[in-house]
Symmetry: C2
Subunit: 353 residues, 2 copies
């Protein structure tokens, strides 16, 4: 199992550092794996002049899975668009055909009071958002800023083909089947033809999954329902743009985005795994970042790319124990708990593994 | 002052009915106004075969302001796109050039515990969302569903011109100036060129408002920050699509969307005023709907279209008193309060006026 480790920017190196310690411990335990470091994002711009250099491209093509820390920093805001760190992320998704982004929003009972929502609204929250990741307005052509009749005009194209919708729908239906059997597809069919097609195709695909209860919701309503009563959802499937917004909203419901991992998969279980939080340049290098989302991303990697369900669960249990023992980085700290830094949190997980 | 009243579908007639009673009471008090009923949405489809008939078009063109109840019902889901009730709403916005949608998200102290968020997170919440309403992917061309290389493809165009961004930015800066002087512009500039132009033009416009503190936020982060700490915002300005999502999310933070009015304005203070909630077909005709959002929409009308600040405040005070007296429709009901229907709530406001 060859794993490319792209630490990225900001707190990236610190949090992937702790995840690597876990992986190395599992290797001593007998798991066959190789770690290969690579550059993506701002650090790649600094070192190689572009956010997704050819050498990284080759590395991730050959790897069986990719672990990513986080990319981006306001430091690069002034660069031309194609040189910005986020372009590296978009390029790697497209290059590896990572069309299925799985983002769980789980509230750990130990952290229930960290949420800004009332405990009864979010306790035991367990939603999975399936976001299409290689299509939509993120990649649609034509796009740009032009001068027309004496003024600037900015434009982008939202576009989905039947095949793109169909394949992400299958991923979502299959995920729902393994959970509570409910899938809510989110669109804006009352305004956008593109998402009318989305609704039509998801409905058609649903005929193959009579055991899954399919419903549809408009995106504005979904944004409301996530706040009003998030536990009504099991699996949500939506396009790239709406998924970007709703998955961030959903993760914040838990109050602990430092805890949430994600997987981005192609059609053969190759995947990129990363915490859903950003590169947090303000706390970088200070041993303050929460490494648990990255450590839980390894669990997802072992589950989805390497079919090592048991090892995945070992990691997840270790994280639960660490929370039960009261270890907290500052993002999830509450009075009475043990405040620890990035490295000590890694120690605690290792000790429980 | 000629006011077109478009009751619309579902609970529309009931809630505009109560608002009309208030307007008529103000007329007896000396306010010069005329009410003219018209059809929009599903009721217009039923009566005239289209959601925005020519006769309604003429009525609203001549009126100084429009009061709208709500449009839409699943009953019309099977109709071709151009006949659906929502198309009436989009068409009237475009026809009257109502580019500036003002949506306050206010939490009334009396209703603090109705919210799904913790009271300390939302108490005294007072945000104004300024949403561009006649551009963006809502109206962009080309759009449609086509067959290409043997499969269906759906597409829409997100597009903004410099002039469109500039004029909504002015509205937002001026609103911020009258409030706490802070404006947050929301975009997705790291992915979408269209919104890169948005950020550039808003920044340029901001030079004319050195007294307003301008900040920028990515839409995914904004969706999170609204949940994490909504009180960090004063005025938010954004495009039509993001505004649709974020304004619904923001209004749900208050837990009482039955309380929230909205104004959609052109560049000469003509406006359409409507509650932000929908047509709620499930409770239509049952005297259950909360008329307060519609009544507060009249207050906005008197303020923005007719410069009757004093009368607007009289209505708003009456609504506050009614809440203080414990009157509650079922959407905001809590034990210990007086549960009332739509009409009784109207009575209570009238009594306090
Ligand atoms: C950094 C950005 C391009 C990216 C996205 O919008 O997809 C991020 O927000 C995410 O959700 O992974
Ligand atoms: C009904 C629909 C077309 C409309 C919109 O998306 O603008 C509604 O959601 C709104 O926000 O007024």
């Amino acid at each position: 199992m060859k794993i490319a480790v792209l630490a990225g920017d900001g707190i990236g190196p610190e949090i992937t550092g702790q995840a690597e310690r876990i992986l190395l411990a599992l290797r001593s335990d007998g798991l066959k794996l190789e770690l290969e470091p690579g550059l993506l994002g701002g650090c790649a711009v600094d070192a190689a002049g572009e956010p997704f250099p050819e050498i990284t491209r080759r590395l991730v093509k050959e790897a069986d899975a990719v672990l990513l820390g986080a990319v981006g920093s306001p430091k690069y805001d002034g660069l031309p668009r194609e040189k910005r760190p986020e372009q590296g992320l978009l390029a790697i998704r497209k290059e590896l055909n990572l069309f299925a982004n799985l983002r769980p929003a789980i509230l750990y009972p130990e952290l229930a009071s960290v949420s800004s929502l009332k405990p009864e609204i979010v306790s035991n929250l367990d939603i999975l958002i399936v976001r299409e990741l290689t299509g939509d307005i993120y990649f649609g052509q034509p796009r740009g800023i032009e001068r027309r009749e004496g003024q600037r005009v900015g434009f982008n194209t939202m576009i989905y083909t039947e095949a793109e919708i169909n394949r992400i729908a299958h991923v979502a239906f299959q995920a729902a089947r393994k959970r509570k059997g409910r899938l809510c597809s989110v669109d804006k069919m009352n305004v956008l033809e593109c998402t009318q097609l989305w609704r039509d195709v998801v409905t058609e695909t649903g005929k193959e999954y009579p055991d899954v209860k399919l419903s549809h919701m408009l995106v504005d309503n979904a944004a409301m329902q996530l706040v009003r009563d998030p536990k009504q959802f099991d699996v949500i499937v939506t396009g790239n743009m709406f998924g970007d917004i709703l998955s961030d909203e959903a993760s914040m419901l838990t109050g602990s985005i430092g805890m949430l991992p994600s997987a981005s998969l192609d059609d053969r279980n190759k995947g990129l795994y990363e915490p859903i939080h950003g590169s947090a340049p303000d706390i970088a290098g200070k041993d303050l970042a929460n490494p648990l989302a990255t450590i839980l991303s390894i669990a997802m990697m072992l589950r989805y790319s390497f079919a090592q369900e048991e090892v995945a669960m070992r990691i997840e249990h270790a994280v639960r124990k660490v929370l039960a023992q009261g270890f907290r980085t500052s993002d999830i700290y509450e009075p009475g708990m043990k405040k620890v830094g990035t490295r000590e949190m890694g120690d605690a997980v290792l000790a429980n593994l």
